[in-house]
């Protein structure tokens, strides 16, 4: 391998080549240059070219299949794109675009960003898919669950921290369930997963869920099981 080879410089030359071709194009061919060559120019450093890949993911296609051309699809693709960024960048990017998303899509849009920055975007789509299979819902019913979950996201989601005492977590879950919402989502990642396992044991041995009329299931949000969610469903 050529030791002088630097991929970023080579990529730069390639890009500049396209730009140079554009500048050398005949005047009457300039407007069609972009369509003919399937090329576009973006501001340097914006990093938005990768966003198109989020719409090619199985999760995105699956959600589009389930809910059709829903107005929130652009934010879903932003959410999946954020999820694909390095973990330390996810919250920062979500924070930067929160205001513009709220301006156009209000609470539902911000809920999608919150899901994305906590790594639940794909998990939520997986849950909707499985739930749809289990209940054989109409598209309208599924859209209703989707929209309601986004609308109520703050009320129906709970994030367990590693250092939270078990009693406090159980109390927090109980308070959420007592609201009587259709679904409650309880998340844990990395160090908090052990605590979550203890929560599961406690819930199974108590009659709390029976009293409040809920069942629950556990979903792994990552193949290695480093992020999980308990989904409580009102019976």
């Amino acid at each position: 391998m050529n030791e002088d080879f630097d991929p970023s410089i080579e990529a730069g030359k390639f890009s500049y080549g396209f730009f140079k071709s554009f500048l050398e194009e005949k005047k009457e061919q300039l407007i069609s240059f972009f369509s003919r060559n399937r090329v576009g120019f973006l501001p340097k450093g914006c990093g938005l070219g990768d966003l198109k890949n989020s719409q090619k993911t199985q999760s995105f296609k699956q959600l589009k299949y389930l809910i059709g051309n829903h107005p929130t699809l652009p934010i879903i693709s932003i959410g999946l794109w954020i999820n694909s960024l390095p973990e330390e960048k996810q919250k920062k990017v979500a924070e930067e675009i929160r205001n513009s998303i709220y301006k156009m899509h209000k609470k539902k849009g911000v809920s999608i960003l919150n899901m994305a920055s906590t790594g639940f975007m794909e998990g939520f789509i997986k849950f909707l898919t499985n739930y749809n299979l289990k209940k054989n819902l109409t598209k309208e019913e599924l859209i209703d669950i989707y929209e309601q979950s986004l609308e109520d996201w703050e009320k129906i989601s709970l994030f367990i921290q590693k250092n939270h005492p078990l009693e406090n977590i159980l109390q927090a879950i109980q308070l959420k369930l007592a609201q009587g919402m259709s679904f409650i989502y309880v998340f844990a990642s990395y160090g908090a997963i052990q605590t979550m396992q203890s929560v599961i044991v406690q819930l199974r041995s108590s009659n709390l869920l029976l009293q409040l009329g809920y069942s629950f299931s556990k979903e792994n949000l990552e193949p290695k099981g480093s992020k999980i969610v308990l989904i409580f469903e009102k019976q």
């Binding site: 730009f19 120019f41 938005l48 070219g49």
Partner: protein
């Protein structure tokens, strides 16, 4: 259909490309069309500024490149159709 190639360019190069297409930039940095009217981004509904201007295929679109506008663009012009 070949994959859409998106190339990041410096502000100067974007300006050069826009000027080649007959556009101009006003004193505040907003993009003006051939009739010297401010170009409005079809997705953000705001004036397009040279610092955020993107030039994209699809009857030649000049838009503000933001995550939301780009996500809307990719949905409107999917690569796989």
């Amino acid at each position: 259909m070949p994959e859409l190639e998106l190339i990041e360019l410096s502000t100067n190069d974007i300006q050069l490309a826009l000027e080649r297409l007959g556009y101009s930039i006003d004193e505040q940095g907003f993009v003006l069309d051939l009739n010297k009217k401010e170009v409005m981004c079809k997705y953000t509904q705001e004036r397009v500024h040279i610092k955020t201007a993107a030039i994209l295929p699809g009857s030649l679109l000049i838009i503000n490149a933001t995550p939301l506008s780009m996500a809307q663009y990719f949905l409107e012009y999917p690569n796989d159709e």
